[in-house]
């Protein structure tokens, strides 16, 4: 097995001083936005995409990946200290973490979260290195029908894992697909839905849609009702957990890592789902379930390990198939494309240094995160107290300048506010924005593979069901929707997600 040699190549790239710097900037920004409620990794990565244009491909992708998993660390800090998840996957961490903070045990809670995350991140990175190459080899034999089936599977599973109404999630996906079709038709070059605007010929700008729906819409939502944040712990002391704490977190960390690694691969909110799954698993397995909700350290260590493991393994579908599992990965697709690289099974062979460099950098990044988060916790505590009215103007300004700088096109700037208001309305009416962005990114791919498959099969739609791989994938997609609609599962799904609100 040449895994060792490949990882060696990866580390030689990741340990290049410039790349360590990019990795550091990435995890630093990630921790920052993870800490700050009201701005998440999706909006941040969307805003920074244009900036990475001028970096080397490896540096750009290492930095963007760092923002994503860095945010998983940062989210837990806010959850524990002010009972407000900085990032949606940290919502369960708030339940027991905040109780621990109220009992004066904020230090051990933060340490358990960071150490669990580090362990989970390291293991999941190794799993990624181990499973990605064979998957990429298998994906090379995929034809148009298989890709079509895979995209359908990805889109439909993302509904099953989202919360809220399934019909609304489906509609958001279809709307995303339609928005993705604006621009010139791939086969005939005919401009569609452009109304004579030359600026729309290459399609709606991806960054505009992302910062509109995830940045501006979120700001409008937050400004409906401005709350002040109550910081419980001004100074964190006694960081190190006791021996008893260590004994209690070993099991949850191991189980959380396993659960998170497996669920992270699934499309949709893999990292969010995995932290909820880990929490309920720990509660059920615990000898003292009554302690949960009252400051059980297991309820912090398990979910935090799970969401970080999932953050790493969610790169598997992206790096091997070129299919994003959730909106952040969709933005990573955008980053690859900006750098002139088509994400997919070929990356591993054509750009081995890039592929293994990203994987190795994740381990480096996880190490940096432990250093950043534990000794420097005082700094993050101060940052949480920055009032929101100072933050959101920065988001809007960076979104405008960043979007404009991609093509020096003011049309893209107007699109931000258009999608901001559309996104705000739809979110108000109970529609989740994530499926829309997934649909938008996957729309052109879906259409291309569907039309190509139909040309190859001479218009015979049964081609999708007679080829074994594509038939299996479509059957799985159908199964996911049916399961999500079953009343029993629906109730459980509502239960799981109700704690998030």
């Amino acid at each position: 097995m040449d895994l060792i040699a490949s990882l060696g190549l990866g580390f030689s790239v990741a340990l290049d001083p410039m790349n360590i710097l990019y990795c550091f900037i990435g995890v630093l920004l990630g921790t920052l936005v993870g800490c700050l409620p009201g701005i998440g990794p999706t909006a941040t990565i969307a805003m920074l995409l244009p900036i990475t244009f001028s970096l080397s491909p490896v540096g750009a992708l290492i930095m963007l990946a760092g923002i994503y998993y860095g945010a998983q660390y940062g989210g837990s800090t806010t959850a524990i200290l002010i009972n407000l998840p900085g990032e949606s996957s940290a919502a369960v961490t708030a339940i027991d973490g905040y109780q621990m903070a109220r009992q004066g045990r904020a230090g051990p809670a933060l340490a358990a979260a960071a150490l669990g995350s580090f362990f989970a991140g390291s293991v999941a990175t190794l799993l990624l290195a181990f499973f990605a190459p064979p998957l990429a080899r298998a994906a090379l034999s995929f034809g148009a029908p298989e890709y079509f089936a895979l995209i359908v599977l990805g889109l439909l599973v993302s509904i099953a894992l989202a919360h809220g109404s399934i019909l609304k999630a489906l509609a958001m996906i279809v709307l995303g697909l339609l928005l993705g079709m604006v621009g010139q038709d791939i086969y005939t070059g005919q401009p569609r839905f452009t109304f004579g605007f030359r600026e729309l010929f290459s399609g709606l700008n991806f960054v505009s849609v992302a910062v509109g729906v995830f940045g501006v819409a979120e700001i409008l939502r937050n400004l409906e009702n401005e709350k002040t944040r109550e910081l419980l712990v001004k100074k964190v002391t006694n960081l190190w957990p006791t021996g008893e704490d260590f004994r209690r977190i070993v099991g949850p960390v191991l189980r959380g890592t396993g659960l998170g690694s497996a669920l992270g691969v699934l499309p949709g909110g893999g990292h969010i789902l995995s932290s909820f799954a880990s929490y309920s698993a720990e509660k059920r397995l615990s000898k003292h379930p009554e302690q949960f909700g009252k400051g059980a350290i297991e309820g912090v260590a398990g979910p935090e390990s799970a969401n970080n493991a999932a953050a790493q393994t969610s790169f598997i579908p992206l790096l091997t198939l070129g299919i994003p599992a959730h909106p952040v990965m969709a933005l990573m697709v955008g980053a690859f494309i900006l750098q002139g690289i088509t994400p997919g099974p070929n990356v591993i062979n054509d750009q081995p240094a890039l592929f293994w460099g990203i994987i190795a950098s994740m381990w480096v990044g996880n190490l940096l995160l432990v250093v950043l988060n534990l000794p420097l916790i005082g700094l993050w505590v101060k940052l949480i107290t920055i009032p929101y009215r100072m933050l959101f103007p920065a988001i809007v300004i960076f979104a405008c300048i960043g979007t404009y700088s991609i093509n020096l096109n003011v049309f893209d700037v107007y699109a931000i506010i258009l999608f901001g208001i559309l996104g705000y309305l739809l979110i108000r009416f109970g529609c989740e924005p994530a499926p829309l962005l997934l649909g938008f990114v996957l729309g052109p791919l879906l259409e291309e593979h569907f039309r190509r498959a139909m040309i190859i099969s001479r218009g015979d739609a049964t081609v999708f069901f007679t080829r074994p791989i594509s038939a299996t994938l479509l059957a799985l997609a159908l199964l996911a929707v049916v399961l999500a609609m079953l009343p029993a599962i629906r109730r459980r799904r509502d239960e799981v997600f109700v704690e998030e609100d």
Partner: protein
């Protein structure tokens, strides 16, 4: 009637019906083609119709299920000011140049918070203008004049 239907579902469904109908109707202007060789209008027509149908289904699903919770009223001040700020940025970035455009956009945006004061917004806008000039103009060498041709000096 107003109390017997989910307002959220009614409005969300309405948006989907309108947008789906729009895409479907507009795609009739393009060549549809056949299933073997689909034209540019084929997929949008199918998906637009599906979206409109989903919109109808969402409205129906909301019948007799009024909300138990109510949304906070929207902050019209925030929506208006942020929309004006972003449009101002697009209109003026070439003519006014980077520094004045960013400053005024930031000032408008910062005023969107119901708690902001003119002085506070001014301080935030000054800080943001400095920061973004450093990052984008000096750091990333964005090709935009710092002061644009509309200004007399």
């Amino acid at each position: 009637m107003a109390t017997r239907i989910s307002r959220d579902n009614f409005l969300a469904g309405g948006i989907f019906i309108a947008l789906g109908g729009f895409f479907a109707l507009e795609s009739l202007n393009y060549e549809l083609g056949s299933p073997i060789r689909m034209g540019p209008g084929y997929m949008p027509l199918v998906l637009g119709s599906v979206l409109a149908a989903l919109g109808v289904a969402i409205v129906i699903a909301g019948l007799r299920k009024p909300e138990e919770h109510t949304n906070e009223p929207p902050s019209w001040r925030a929506i208006g000011l942020i929309a004006v700020a972003i449009i101002f940025f697009g209109v003026c970035i070439r003519g006014l140049g980077f520094i004045p455009t960013v400053f005024i956009t930031a000032l408008l945006t910062a005023s969107a918070s119901s708690r902001s004061t003119l002085l506070g917004a001014g301080i935030i806008a000054t800080a943001l203008t400095l920061l973004s000039t450093l990052v984008f103009v000096f750091g990333l060498r964005l090709q935009v004049p710092m002061l644009g041709p509309w200004l007399p000096f």
